[in-house]
Amino acid sequence: MNLLNLFIIALRSLNKNKIRSLLTMLGIIIGVASVIAMLAIGQGSRDSIENQISGLGSNVIMVFPGATFRGGVATAAGSAQSLEMDDLEAIRANCPSVKYLSPVARSGGQIIAGSNNWNSSIRGVYNEYLDIRNIEVESGSRFSEMDEKRASKVCIIGQTVAENLFDEYTDPVGQRIRINKIPFTVIGLLKEKGQGAMGEDQDDIIYAPFSTVQRRMRGARQNIQQIFISAVSEEKIELASEEIDELLRTRKNISMYEDPPFHIRTQTEIVEMFTSTSNTMIVLLAGIASISLIVGGIGIMNIMLVSVTERTREIGLRMAVGARSKDILRQFLLEALLLSLLGGLIGAAFGILSSKLFVAIMGWPITVSSYSVVLAFSFAFIVGVFFGWYPARKAAMLIPMDALRYE
């Protein structure tokens, strides 16, 4: 019997038991939908993390004080004092692969402008920081060398901060504000960056000269919370990180075999770290989804076995008028396949739809990749063949006379 006729027969027999067919497909529908949705969520969060990390800036290397954590336990009695201003200058002087560098001092607090007030975080940075992180100033100016030397009370504010402190008719540049009661002059307004990948507001930030924040707001402590560095090029990131590591070890008298009281993270490393964790998550989610696909497959097998038993006389008759075992096998296999593929189709539609719904309702970042649809479909196909085979074979192995006499 040719394929078209087999197809018509299979389609009809599914059509005769609509509700049953639908219920049978449900397992596959749920399986495929969840594979697609989960892969979409996984892929989406991965993409957004990658985006965010690349949003860090160009060729970024970060140096933190304190020991690297291994297995949740600090391996060296980490001192938060391990990075000093001298270290910073030494890096600038001795590491040829380093282009820009800037220490970061973090603070935060209440900002008052006239009768408006707002809470935000304040970062004390060098002018170079803006280059490392590709931060652009929309209006006004950046810091001058004098600002850093004198610890001038000047700042550059983000759009959100500006919106909350000033009305739309006021140009923030040149305005006086008070940060934790200290008077500052706004010298620049940052270009809008929008929402970060994790949903945070990247415009809710204030930058001030490093020395200003370090001395005036953090109580003149000498330690540095973080150093942002950019390598001269992407290829030099690794080299720069090695240069910094070697230099800092020498300065602090720490051999290559000891754990240093600082750690260095490159942008590439961070990307790898996040993608590997999101990879594990994807594998985990896909595992769960494939279990539901297998359960769906068992459902198909179950119904196909029932169908074979119910239609034993039909099988007997088909054989009596000339159907070979092969024809019967194909007929039932195609039916199982149609069930799983149709389920796959509906499931794919549901998966894509629910992914979109997720985006709309939860605001989660989601990417439906075509490969996940292909993957889910081929999985449904394999499930159909695998679980349809046994019932189809059972049908094909029937002896015509026995099948015809079946009560």
């Binding site: 006389r313 008759l317 009596a320 008028v321 000339g322 070979r324 015509p400």
Partner: protein
């Protein structure tokens, strides 16, 4: 009569055919050395007590079963030792089988039921299939019922659809196992009228029946007893089913 036999082609030739059902503890000898020929154009009725082996023989003749011993030639080919696929092909090309219980596919139109055997013949295209099925339905007088489902047809009509299905592949022989077993006298005669018409057109028929009335419509009767042929009768004055049908009392009288 003998001379006439030799002129006609042998459609079926059975030599020393036996069938033993091995039931483990007991062996049932359903057929014990059957010798029988069926010639082209013959209308054979097989009679006999229940359990005498009629169905067993018919199933073997219909290539639905294989003999334990002996030879079976169908249309000059030895089919006693064919494998499953070859038997399927034989059934598809050479045999038309009519069952007591019709065995139509439920929720499938009469026309599609008739088409069924042709679906398993890749040489026949869709257009020809439809045409042949329609023509065969016409032969059994069901042109107007082609789109009806079996559950919308009477028993007699269903059996006529089954006859059309058995005819559609242009078989060398039509086999029918108690085709009127489930029908009342009037409907049975109607079905027999069709068999007789087909036989007159040259179609070879062999049927199994319990009823004497029915066997008198055939050209030849074979009597079975305990797996053997006990008697063969050539019917001299063959009854005409159409005429017998007219002789039956009108339907409403029959009701009383």
């Amino acid at each position: 009569m003998k001379e006439q036999d030799q002129e006609r082609k042998k459609i079926i030739s059975v030599k020393n055919l036996s069938k033993i059902y091995d039931m483990g503890a007991v062996k049932v000898h359903a057929l014990r050395g059957i010798e029988m020929d069926i010639h082209e154009g013959e209308f054979t009725a097989i009679m006999g007590h229940s359990g005498s082996g009629k169905s067993t023989l018919l199933n073997i003749l219909g290539c639905l079963d294989v003999p334990t011993e002996g030879k079976y030639y169908l249309d000059d080919a030895d089919v006693s030792h064919l494998d499953k696929n070859q038997l399927a092909r034989m059934r598809n090309r050479k045999i038309g089988f009519v069952f007591q219980t019709y065995n139509l596919l439920p929720r499938t139109s009469a026309l599609e039921n008739v088409e069924l055997p042709l679906l398993y013949n890749p040489e026949i295209r869709r257009k020809e299939r439809k045409e042949r099925a329609m023509n065969t339905l016409e032969l059994v007088g069901l042109t107007d019922w082609s789109e009806h489902f079996p559950n919308q047809l009477s028993g007699g009509q269903q059996q006529r659809v089954a006859i059309a299905r058995a005819l559609v592949n242009d078989p060398v022989i039509m086999l029918a196992d108690e085709p009127t077993g489930n029908l009342d006298t009037r409907t049975s005669f109607g079905v027999m009228e069709i068999f007789q018409e087909l036989n007159r057109k040259g179609i070879t028929i062999a049927l199994v029946t319990h009823e004497m009335d029915i066997s008198k419509f055939a050209t030849r009767n074979i009597l079975f007893r305990d797996g053997r042929i006990s008697k063969e009768i050539i019917i001299k004055n063959i009854k005409n089913a159409g005429e017998e049908l007219k002789k039956l009392p009108p339907e409403d009288e029959e009701m009383e």
